[in-house]
Amino acid sequence: MKFLRKADLILIIVLALIPCAMLFYNIKTARAMTGAYLSVVVDGWETGRYDLDKDQTIRIGDTNICEVKDGRVRMIRADCPDQICVHSSDIGAEGGIIVCLPNRVILEIREADDTIDTGLDGVVR
């Protein structure tokens, strides 16, 4: 292509390699989930933990409603205009996350002994 210079190609390759390296690191350090549960976090505070095996509808404040059905979690209602979280694909025991940025709601599958992310990679005792 005539409008691609050599420097452009190098830049594109570098910009492609950085996220690939990050993803590779993430996948390598990820562990298998045992005893997964649904964690609902609003504005940084975990407001509830829910069993994936029990079908239920969860009201999150007065802004969002999420649903657990057959082990799958999805957001069924949000009062924001973009509705990105409602259109997100459902999550389950394999892990995953649904985020509603306008209302600062996070639905995340966590492991049984996993506490809220402190921002630290690990603690040396």
């Binding site: 409008f3 452009d8 594109i12 996220p19 993430n26 924001c80 996350i97 940025l101 600062r104």
Partner: protein, 178 residues
Amino acid sequence: MSQKIPSYNGGVGSRTAYLGLFMALAIIFGYIESLIPVPVPVPGMKLGLTNLVIAAILYLYSWREAIVISALRVVVLGFLFGNMFSIVYGLSGAVLSLIVMALLKKTGLFSVVGVSCGGGVAHNTGQVIAATFLVTGFPWRWYLPILMIAGLIAGLLIGIADAIILPRISRIGVLQTK
């Protein structure tokens, strides 16, 4: 064509008129984009059609005009179709993207394709940074690389489109690339 075509970039009146036109175009692109549902599992992915206009302004005028139009359209689009937070995310993405694009352009090494790729990646990086600060526990480790790749692909497509459009705008003789 041997006849010299006058360029109208310079005049204050025409510049204001053309930038207004570009602004309107950017807002329309933003609106069109909000109408198209994006079938991807990760929220926040989109083509960034408005960046077609912003990158063009960067080449037709300078980073000053581009940053003004870019910030204004984020605020206008936020008021029209979004909320306070979409303005914050949009601004952090738009500003970082424009800084990176202006710097890449200044080096003189890259064509509009490379500049746009850098801009796309920077735009999504800026949004992830904003989300990390605003939403406690935001899983940026996963979002950042995925959105960087999405930004790169979007930037590549937008850059190629601009590489095709810019010479044509120059050929019409209304505006000249710098």
